[in-house]
Subunit: 217 residues, 2 copies
């Protein structure tokens, strides 16, 4: 089917498992494209410009913000991070599905500029499990964990703004659901070039012409 | 996840393969519910009231039409056919997915009464293949086949009114797409009881209360 590509946004609280679910989906859908962000933070060892991030100076970043070249951008801990529009547009024009893992504020910016994107929210199985995961991967104080859990709850409430919600209670099941969303969204009539598709189906048949419709229909 | 059920409408021209695709999906999703129509045509041998159709007299059917008890109804070849709302509502209330194979006019009636239903259109791989299938299964004259192909083309154009379109070029692939649409639509936030879901996730945790949101969020 003739299809335009689409942008798939994945959000969810820290600890919900966005990266592991995306890794599992990448295996199921090898043709997904992952958006590469631009950042002003310094390049770390093992990181590669253009693969992990596009590394920019603060001036370069600011110029691109002013030129409207970012789909969304934000500042964290003194560094700027942004999503360059041009690469996403190129991939979408090729009919590809571009995946972006961004936070709720970023997703809201995207929704304003690209309302036709597909918004998916990943939920932890339970808050108790989320707490376990957060404690497992950091040496934060009880107070810091409590703050992060409260942030997570506020984020969970924003899930209602999304198109789809997936509860990550079992990794492969969650990945299968995300894969199903991608397959389903590829079948969307509003995203297809329906008239081109019909031409393809009708082909050289020649039996039928536009003026030839039955009066009874 | 707490989910309301939904109604899935499948339409497509005669010969597109709706029944074979539905049979394949039934194997993949054994918990689907199939809507049983009411009809005024006589019960045939091997048919069972309540399984194949609800067999009604013309008076009974007319009374139900007047009482608004059908989701949609139509007359074909002197007999009336209709979809009783009550069984669909019962299944949806239980969170089930109800599948209906109906024509475009019927689907339009459903869209007016249940705009939240999911509308899927099944396309033949090509018109040449559709012609082959139509010739294979009937002894119609060339003129009759030509009329049916013209009807099919007019129907194909209506596919643009649907949410999803699936081209039935390979049975299992088409069935997998329909299954993906069902899985994806089950993840729809607008169909979920999102607040109930959040309660379930937050559970007995007690760490978090509504008044306890971080001011920074």
């Amino acid at each position: 089917m003739q299809q335009r590509g689409f942008l798939l946004i994945l959000s969810g609280p820290s600890g919900a498992g966005k990266n592991t679910v995306l890794d599992a989906v990448r295996k199921r859908c090898p043709d997904l494209v992952y958006s590469v962000s631009a950042t002003t933070r310094p390049c770390r060892p093992l990181e590669k410009d253009g693969r992990d991030y596009f590394f920019l100076t603060k001036d370069e970043f600011q110029q691109r913000v002013e030129a409207g070249e970012f789909l969304e951008w934000a500042e964290f801990c003194g560094h700027c991070y942004g999503t360059p529009l041009i690469h996403i547009r190129e991939s979408l024009d090729k009919g590809q599905v571009v995946v972006m893992d961004i936070d709720i504020q970023g997703a809201r910016q995207v929704k304003k500029k690209m309302p036709e994107a597909v918004f998916v929210f990943l939920l932890p199985p339970t808050m108790a499990e989320l707490e376990k995961r957060l404690r497992g991967r950091s040496s934060d104080s009880d107070e810091a964990i409590r703050r992060r859990l409260n942030t997570a709850l506020a984020e969970l409430k924003a899930g209602i703004e999304y198109d789809y919600a997936i509860r990550n209670d079992q990794l492969e099941r969650a990945a299968a659901k995300l894969q199903a969303i991608i397959i389903a969204e590829r079948c969307r009539v509003r995203r297809s070039e329906y008239s081109e598709l019909l031409e393809e189906i009708v082909g050289e048949q020649g039996v039928i012409s536009e003026d030839d419709e039955p009066a009874t229909y």
